[in-house]
């Protein structure tokens, strides 16, 4: 987070760990159960999926 202040600003990272899922505003702070992570990923895919990564 401190190493990449531009990214921290872009994704509004004020506390960590923060996970940004896709590029359509799905995100969460801290850890959670696996099912919650899956739901976030599914929501991000539904909203547009974000960038395609190799």
């Amino acid at each position: 987070m401190t190493g990449y202040p531009d990214l921290a600003r872009q994704y509004r990272v004020s506390s960590v760990p923060k996970t940004v899922v896709g590029d359509e505003g799905v995100e969460f702070v801290g850890a959670g159960p696996e099912a919650m992570l899956l739901q976030h990923v599914q929501e991000a895919a539904r909203r547009g999926g974000g960038l395609v990564v190799a």
């Binding site: 987070m1 401190t2 190493g3 990449y4 990214l7 921290a8 994704y11 990272v13 960590v16 760990p17 923060k18 996970t19 940004v20 899922v21 896709g22 590029d23 696996e34 099912a35 992570l37 899956l38 990923v41 599914q42 991000a44 895919a45 547009g48 999926g49 974000g50 960038l51 395609v52 990564v53 190799a54």
Partner: protein, 142 residues
């Protein structure tokens, strides 16, 4: 002076005994512009020296732009953790110290095994996705 202490080295050798398939660690650095990236490069070299199934490959972010683009590397320091046959999309940015060093080691083991510890339900849910989703995890070395 090595970055990894004798104690950490011993623990890593034990952890890496669980490696299955070879893993490539492609590190992108640029010593002059980003001195900390040089430290990451050294760290990868030291890790690669611990087990023959780990191959460290050093790339210059400026000179090896084409490969950086192929691997989706956008900034340095960066480590791409790649399976021999498959790229699972694991990229670590920054200096992996403290807790993040554990994340790097776990990534190496997961990629080597070619599987995660996710449940069947999660795997099925992810396999059904119609689009790729990028996960960016922000953390601070502790």
């Amino acid at each position: 002076m090595p970055l990894l202490t004798d104690e950490v080295t011993a623990e890593l050798r034990e952890a890496f005994a669980g490696l299955v398939n070879p893993v490539r660690l492609v590190v992108f650095s640029q010593a002059l512009a980003e001195p900390v990236s040089e430290e990451v490069r050294r760290l990868v070299e030291e890790l690669a020296a611990l087990d023959e199934r780990i191959r460290g490959e050093s790339r210059n972010f400026v000179l090896d732009q084409e490969q950086a683009a192929e691997l989706g590397i956008e900034r340095i320091p960066a480590i791409a953790v790649l399976g021999e046959q498959k790229d699972y999309g694991v990229r670590l940015y920054g200096l992996p110290t403290g807790y993040e060093f554990g994340s790097l080691v776990e990534s190496i083991l997961d990629v080597s095994r070619g599987e995660s510890s996710l449940s069947e339900e999660t795997r099925a849910g992810l396999a059904a996705l119609e689009k790729d989703v990028r996960l960016r995890v922000f953390s601070t070395p502790t």
